[in-house]
């Protein structure tokens, strides 16, 4: 007697629906290349080499007195902080009455391989801070650093405390030895001298490799299945493509800067021990004595909380706040949670000190 095996009709239905969605996808959604990531109106007010300073146009009549400069990370681009109107970090701050500037590090080429921490901290960042101080007639400004941008901003704040009124460190890369992420494991075993000598700048392809080892099955398979399943959901698809486009666009990192970052942060862990030097000047975290707000994401798999939190305990500030959020590295800056919880808390803290 032959056994009868019946396939659940729901499975057939799902497969047919999924195939239809795949076929219809190009008709329903834009190609990532056609998407423009810049959302909130802004002007480029200053340029230095390949970097530039962006000033967002105010959207409220009442403005906080102290302007805020955001030092974005060295990986990917600043667009994630303004990825779409409902999830825009920048827009939210503008709505709260802050005067927001953004530092776009630009796209270094081979000739920028000798740019180092000194150029980024005492060159670009310092020049832009001076520009904002001058334009806004303020002696000090508020500074926010995100991810590796916070490593640079932390070094700047230690070397130039006289220019920083408030410092916000969002998922800062500080204590490399405590970092429990896959990225830190790769960084600890990297022959960075050889890489910089032979290749020059840290190539984007290497960064894409690092992304590929982070939850490879969820990020490499499941994410795209979800995308095609939800192809009719305009909001979901738009957000998905914007984040994907942002993820797929990372500039090279200047060789010398990358070398010192990997060695001093991940391999020798000098920053948290107050032993890191930039152009002969020691980065002493105790010299950071202004109000500091540190934001950490519990589920951060790029910069683990253990890597960021030591900043809170190492600085000399008396007025310091540490906030932990139940989200991830990107979720902290571009999600509904960031709009409902992270930004209102930051806005309130900053307004009280601006």
């Amino acid at each position: 007697m032959q056994s009868e095996s019946r396939v659940d009709p729901k499975i057939i239905e799902e497969i047919l629906k999924f195939s239809k969605n795949v076929i219809n996808a190009p008709k329903l959604v834009a190609a990532p290349d056609e998407i423009v990531l810049e959302v909130t109106p802004h002007d480029t007010v200053q340029m230095m080499d390949k970097s530039r300073l962006i000033h967002y146009k105010p959207i409220t009549e009442k403005q906080q007195k102290t302007p805020l400069l955001i030092s974005y990370a060295l990986i990917n681009r600043y667009h994630i902080l303004d990825i779409q109107p409902e999830k825009s970090w920048v827009r939210n701050l503008l709505q709260q009455g802050f005067d927001v500037y953004m530092l776009d590090w630009g796209t270094p080429t081979s000739m920028d391989k000798y740019l180092d921490f000194d150029d980024y901290v005492n060159g670009y960042l310092d020049s832009y801070v001076e520009y904002i101080k001058n334009e806004s007639s303020n002696e000090k400004i508020s500074l926010q650093g995100y991810c590796t941008g916070a490593t640079i901003a932390t070094a700047y704040t230690s070397l130039h405390p006289e220019s920083v009124k408030n410092y916000i460190a969002t998922a800062p890369v500080i204590d490399g030895w405590r970092d429990t992420t896959v990225i830190s494991n790769l960084a600890k075993h990297m022959d960075v001298d050889k890489m910089v000598e032979i290749i020059g700048n840290m190539p984007p392809e290497f960064m894409y490799y690092c992304f590929s080892v982070l939850k490879p099955f969820e990020q490499g398979i499941e994410k795209y299945i979800k995308f095609f399943k939800n192809i009719d959901n305009k909001k979901f698809v738009d957000n998905f493509l914007r984040v994907e486009k942002w993820l797929g666009d990372t500039p090279p990192i200047p060789g010398e800067l990358f070398k010192q970052w990997i060695k001093d942060i991940y391999q020798d862990n000098l920053l948290i021990q107050n032993k890191m030097y930039i152009a002969g000047q020691k980065i002493d975290l105790k010299k950071i004595n202004m109000p500091v707000f540190t934001q950490v994401a519990v589920g951060d798999h790029l910069v683990s909380p253990e890597c960021s939190m030591p900043l809170h305990y190492a600085i000399g500030s008396k007025d310091k706040t540490l906030r932990m959020y139940p989200t991830g590295h990107v979720g902290m800056i571009a999600s509904s949670l960031s709009q409902k919880k992270v930004l209102p808390e930051l806005g309130q803290w900053l307004a009280e000190r601006s």
């Binding site: 790769l186 990297m190 032979i198």
Partner: protein, 199 residues
């Protein structure tokens, strides 16, 4: 007394590769010396510089061979680590979900189990010392291979009077140093002006 174990004839030893390198270099050098006169006589134009530097290419090719063996060793280990992690994760999935899913809900649940177990196991691998160490060595060997290609390309570039990578690097370094000095002077001047205006 135990008899000496015979060495695996297929596995190249350091001694063997050194002997091969010496042999290749010896004949390359002799051939180069023997050929230098007729080469100088016959090579004209762009080929003059190329002929003079051609020995560098053979030296690089010999060294590429050595590095390629090392690279392959780490690459094999890299894929071995990935396939072992895959095998272990698949076994865990089989234990946790032994039944073949029959309906849409079961397929969804199976997929969730599969992704969670695979992501956990692979993250554990990528986080491990053995993976980090091997991957570091693999990248390092890959860079050395790139360096040999760079050197070969330099010979060709020099034969057509184009600057080598090192020469371009020197220019970049000089430009960087100049820009840095000018930038610092400009910033200092700006700060002084601001202080003056403030008074």
């Amino acid at each position: 007394m135990q008899p000496e174990q015979p060495k695996d004839r297929l596995e190249p030893t350091k001694e063997m590769t050194d002997r091969f390198k010496h042999l290749s270099l010896f004949w390359t050098d002799i051939m180069h010396l023997m050929a230098s006169k007729p080469q100088a006589l016959t090579s004209i134009g762009p080929m003059r510089a190329f002929a003079a530097n051609s020995k560098k290419i053979s030296t690089e090719l010999i060294e590429i061979n050595e590095d390629l063996m090392e690279f392959n060793k780490y690459l094999t280990q890299y894929y071995k680590q990935l396939s072992e992690a895959w095998g272990i994760a698949q076994k865990k999935v089989n234990l946790k979900a032994p039944e073949v899913p029959q309906n849409a809900e079961q397929i969804e649940a199976f997929k969730r189990i599969w992704i969670d177990i695979f992501d956990n196991d692979f993250t554990e691998l990528f986080d491990s010392e053995k993976f980090g160490e091997n991957y570091g060595k693999l990248v390092s060997k890959e860079l050395e291979l790139t360096k040999h290609w760079n050197k070969i390309a330099n010979v060709i570039l020099q034969s057509v009077n184009l600057p080598s990578k090192e020469e371009i690097d020197e220019v970049y370094k000089e430009m960087h140093s100049l820009k840095k000095r000018v930038g610092k002077l400009e910033l200092e001047l700006k700060k002084r002006e601001m202080r003056k205006n403030a008074k």
